[in-house]
Amino acid sequence: MVSLDENQKKVQSKRFSSEEMKNILSGYLYISPFFIIFAIIGLYPAIFSLILAFQKWNGLGEMEFVGLNNFKVILSDPLFWKSVYNTIILGLMGTAPQLVVGLVLAFLLNLTYLRFKAFFRVTIFMPYITSMVAVALVFSVFFSNNETALVNYLIGLFGFDPVNWKTSEWGAKIAISTMVFWRWLGYNTIIYLAGMQSISNELYEASKIDGASKLQQLRHITIPLLKPFILLTVFFSTVGAMQLFTEPTVFLGNTAFARDEAMTVVMYLYRDAFKLSSFGTASAAAIVLLLFIVCASAVNMMLTQGFGKNRRGR
């Protein structure tokens, strides 16, 4: 009897472990597509870029190892620094106002007594579903250099001279950051709104009993509790701003790569690679871009961490 029992157990445990093995294998099989695709189109290209950054190559002939020369070339190229400057300025102008206005909008849309809530929510979110290309094309008509273009006409009503939106330093920047603002405002508002709705109503009730004003509620309850959402949008906008490409390229059309008022870092690297066939310097620019993104995100995270802290701590 005993031996039979043990035997049975043995058989069972053996069967069990082989079943478990099968289980584990199928589990790995289910998660493998991501890793296979990642290896081919994520990891391999990233490593290749890293190697390419130290080579001189036009895409066709032999590669030639040049050490840090590519980095020297781009870091001493005034156009590269102009593109860095443009990217930072456009990022600040496009995203900072968007996050602030988005916060205010979400706060208003979250008020219990607001009417036409659904209407406002839909209209403010609508720009997000248009593509960046469509936005850039529509705004390229609004902000045309033409004196009769809509924006020039409107500022003319206030006594301003028409602006060459596509060929002047600040004209191009204002036009492009307006597009970014227009398209992403609703998106950020919705994220903040979702965040606000997850804040318990009791907190507001309690603070009201303590005699807190709406502004005090905003500062001491809403913003601190919204911090994870604010961090998220700051992170995504920073990364997005550093990668700005579509808006300026489409907005400027056939002059996009010929002028420097709105040349961003991604446009610079695109131009090096696909217009000038200089794959080495383009890859070096991509590596520098990666470092910028990491730094910019880190700096922004640190800045936002401090924002909305409870003042009592001081």
């Binding site: 584990i24 720009p127 094309l137 529509v138 390229s140 695109y270």
Partner: protein
Amino acid sequence: MSREVGAKKWGISRIGMYLFLSVISLFSLFPFYWMFVMATRPSSAYNSIPPTVIPGNQLVGNFQKVLDMIPFFQSLLNTLIVCLTVTIVVLFISSLAGFAFAKMKLPGKNMLFFIILFTIVIPPQLGLIPQYLLVAKSGLLDHLFAAMILFFLNPLGIFLMRQYVSEAVPDELIEAAKLDGCSNFRIYRSIVLPIILPAFATLGIIVFTSVWGEFLWQFTVLRDPESYTIQVALASLNNTFKVDFGMLLSGVFWATLPLLIVFLLFNKLFISSVAEGSIK
């Protein structure tokens, strides 16, 4: 909720609030309206003072010009094929992986999941050149598959699905199915899949709209107008020396309209998708 005690119904601040919201709404809506107006006007309307704000009669004429310039319907079809394929593939890959990460015992699972999350941070431009070379070497330039391949990689999708499966699918249900001798794939297909369908809607919308609007990669690998996706085709309308604005905005209008209609029909779903996608 009851109205706040002491809050005046129509104080200055409340009028200001509605005014502010109305201005922002107008600011959001106006480009759509303008798009439509210009699509119905001859290019000369663009030079009129004051600017035209009432629709004209060139709706068909302008669109005809767009059709002469770019293979509009072909591009739209290409976009649809790319978006649908990518969405289906991403939903399948993400849900399967999400299921494995949420409900299966796998050694090293957390590490692997962390790696997936980490890939979100890698900027897509970093690999742009090698990715292009890879596609070019495989002779896939101008093929729609080239336009799709980058987007099969969707770490956010796996993240979302893992969250959803672990919250929505009860462990007992899976245990019971296992006792009945169901294979893992059978459990995925007949238990997990039906439960996570709402998450499919969320992730599907996020993936579909993001691929629909994608430009840089398509602009890089699609050079033949027959292979253009709608965004690349639209952008090419702005490349001529003297742009016909009526034609240009007609193209934008007709390319935006389908998504706009779908959005207005299902706006709640869209908005909650974006909210959910960001929160989870």
